[in-house]
Symmetry: D2
Subunit: 292 residues, 4 copies
């Protein structure tokens, strides 16, 4: 099988490598021509046989332009797969746009990060069953070995929706572990915190891959002295909370996790300025004068 | 009526003044002899007629020692009122300890802060009805004018419990207003934030005394530039959450408010260090190197 | 002054009445012709002199169609005010659409509910200063007497944004009071809960209009036995959380309040089914078999 | 090695079995004499050689009485290990009480549930290093095979503290997964929810043992129709939140998880009754009349 792959960044580059190791021929395209296998979209399309399968691994804002470029170049029955971190609400629009030209669309949520090249990428795919079946060799090469790591989640958008929820859960899990770690660190009687986390890798209810990663991090830096308590969020956490709000689903821990990240990035908290101001007004409690 | 008042600090001093303005004679006692009306507890007791009423306005850790000093000096039927920020679980113990000598006890939660001298102190009292009745002239002098501001909340401990819940609610209210203010401040299209808060003082669902105080604070400092986002907590918020946890009562907003204060006082968040460390481990996301 | 008012439902009908009491002539239009003063939009426009001021008090989904109907009927310099519970993101679009025909637009968030007719409506207005000035007599008639209750919040959308935040705060305040009430009700030693709330109306930090309403509710039904723990949400709470998420502003108490309402409307909680299922899997803890 | 084991219930009975499989002789004692190896504490002590090691696996309220019974029977240098779900604050008291007679004490938090017999029990131990070393053969037999599953966490109480935090984390993890599951179930476009969870077992950031258990639960009952959304809490979650509050550590997700369990057990929510009552008061919003 031969597949087109647009976007050869940190994720896309590794995916090309994993596909090739899995026996899939890849024609890669990137703005960086030194790593590209094609000069442009037309060249990429010309180098593929129908029904073509083209995997997009581009930033969210580039997906629509790339699809608009591709549509006139493709033929009915060709398949475009959006494997990036796209918002699930975009997928039905892209599917409808391509369907006008008889072109198929799949959305593929992808998890695996820097470990994906070796371990495989967990894939959550949305779209029609028959189209999933046609693209299956690509998924087979990307996914982890063994019986897990791939799912046909539902119709258009379901792949990215499932990936979004995966990340929302991830936010909650990370925050829960982090709170527990802070509590252990704050205790006077607990002296061996990294050893505790390591011991939890077997026999406990909370053993997990994230726990394994915490152990690695604490081996390097037992109190995380070198790391600032500053955490970005990558969009999916926000989408999860917004989707939950729109759907009337309570997500207290996922929302709390997201808000904790927001706070971690504030130089000073406006809300807490106001709380301090009110305490000062009613109780004469001293405020700390801003150093800015 | 004549009453003993032990503890003439910021709160106790103002209460003596308000009692006197209300026609109650006060014998005050303080470690600061310059402001004291008695030289010690024995002198204070000697200067009162039975049934004596002695109001304690001392720090929480001083309550038990003062009660232990008073018990041998007092007579059956005398009344000790703990008006400080004591924990409600202490009250039944103090009541039982004094009851062994036939001495009565009341707990009085007190709200009013620096405004209490002028406006009166809201009082929440726990203990037997007949004892409350005997002490009523004291409560009458301290409470605000009008029909509100005093309640016999229940049996021993109920006064401090009600005051604790009052403060727990206060934490939640302050945080909710503060979040709204932060959101308005963050908006590009909203330009007149202090004016908005001022306008809310009439006709809205959220008008309140705390809102009035916010307006005062914003008049001084429209963006609170002078104030650090750093808020202490005074114990009652913690007790509220702990009591709720022990009683199986969900208090998500009160707990969130308390945690926001905890975070406001952290130089750096240990939990967020761990979140950053995990993100780095699985995603290769850069961490911010600690500046410490 | 004469003003057009489209939408004479629960809110709009009372506003017509308050405007008339305030000396403003009102031409009202409603789908219910029995209460209408005009037969349709064209008739309403014909009955007004330029520059016309037309206040919309229609459901959110009706705003765009009404504006589309009005635009060809109006003249440059006329003013359309959207006084309904519209989403702030819609306002700039409506303003731009009307501006193509030289028509002005204001958005007016309105608070006051069933009490507005007597007490006046708190108004938060977005749009250009000069347009606000032209429409000022309408605002003057609707707002509460006294110096508060009206604000020019900022540019287009700022009125509805401020109203949205008002409601978000309201959610948090209500939840905080409700948690405190639940905690008092759960206590063995607190016996006089309605009296406690009543006492808090003076001298406390938490006195407010919402507190006054709680007192009224508890006078009717001291333990709220007659009321189900079921609370709708009207949209603004969701918008507040979504806006905060999009703007990176932490709103833990407002979000918690919203989620508590979501939960209150669930027959059974899917999330808690899953928690029970996990406990059963790892601990052999019994699950409760669903009665459905 | 020979060890005494007091308490042969669901946990203790399995531990006796695992110890025996691991080559440790066990003298078991239980109120149920049919399963006991000794008739009472004196008999149990008589059947052990010094330095004796006695493992307690009794309910929290039975620990102090059992220790009081044992002290006069034991000799200096003997070791009592509290392996039950005791509160960490009790451990220093028990250690001091036994130390008066020269008897050593260890606290051992134990995780593993119904899977412990086969997989081993994760152990978190608090107390002096030399005492831990003496008791090590017992720990070796109970813990999982491999390098993990045992930790000497710190001084007296550290074992139970670590176990408490383990369970607090567990609450947060379970809630985060459960929220994600609810969100997927609520989606129209996601059709294969159990398959999604199964696919996540490889290649994802959120793979874990809890995820494996969710997959098992969904295999039996794909929408958990048979299970009520009702979740008990076993104490450690409450202790975690209370400890965090006392130590000034923010734990928003763990607290939210605990509160979600509280709500799951309420027939009706008092707090939401009050929210509904307030909405009715200010907005004329209908309330649902209680069916009780």
């Amino acid at each position: 099988m031969r597949v087109g792959l647009i976007g050869l960044g940190k994720m896309g580059g590794n995916m090309r490598e994993r596909l090739r190791r899995g026996g899939v021929e890849v024609v890669g395209l990137d703005r960086n021509k030194e790593i590209s296998d094609a000069v442009d979209e037309a060249d990429l399309v010309a180098k593929l046989d129908g029904p073509r399968v083209i995997w997009l691994m581009v930033p969210i804002q580039a997906v629509t332009p790339v699809i608009e470029t591709l549509r006139p170049l493709l033929s009915p029955g060709d398949i475009v797969i959006d494997g990036g971190n796209s918002k699930w609400t975009h997928d039905a629009k892209h599917a409808a746009y391509l369907a006008e030209a008889g072109i198929e669309f799949l959305d593929a949520g992808t998890s695996g990060g820097v470990w994906g090249l070796e371990n495989g990428y967990a894939l959550m795919v949305g779209g029609p069953e028959s189209v999933v079946a046609t693209a299956m060799p690509v998924f087979e090469a990307l996914k982890p070995e063994g019986e897990f790591g791939f799912v046909h989640a539902g119709s258009h958008g379901a792949g990215h929706f499932a990936k979004m929820v995966h990340n929302g859960i991830e936010y909650g899990l990370m925050q829960a572990y982090a709170e527990g770690w802070e509590l252990l660190e704050a205790s006077d009687i607990v002296t061996n915190v990294p050893e505790i986390f390591e011991s939890w890798r077997e026999g406990t209810v909370i053993r997990s891959w994230l726990l394994d990663l915490m152990v690695l991090a604490l081996q390097d830096d037992p109190h995380l002295d070198e790391i600032e308590g500053y955490a970005e969020d990558s969009g999916e956490g926000r989408w999860t909370v917004n989707a939950a709000v729109d759907m009337g689903v309570p997500v207290p821990t996922i929302a709390a996790s997201l808000f904790a990240r927001f706070v971690s990035r504030q130089e000073d908290s406006p809300a807490m300025k106001m709380v301090a101001a009110m305490r000062n007004q009613f109780g004469g409690h001293a405020v700390q004068v801003s150093k800015d």
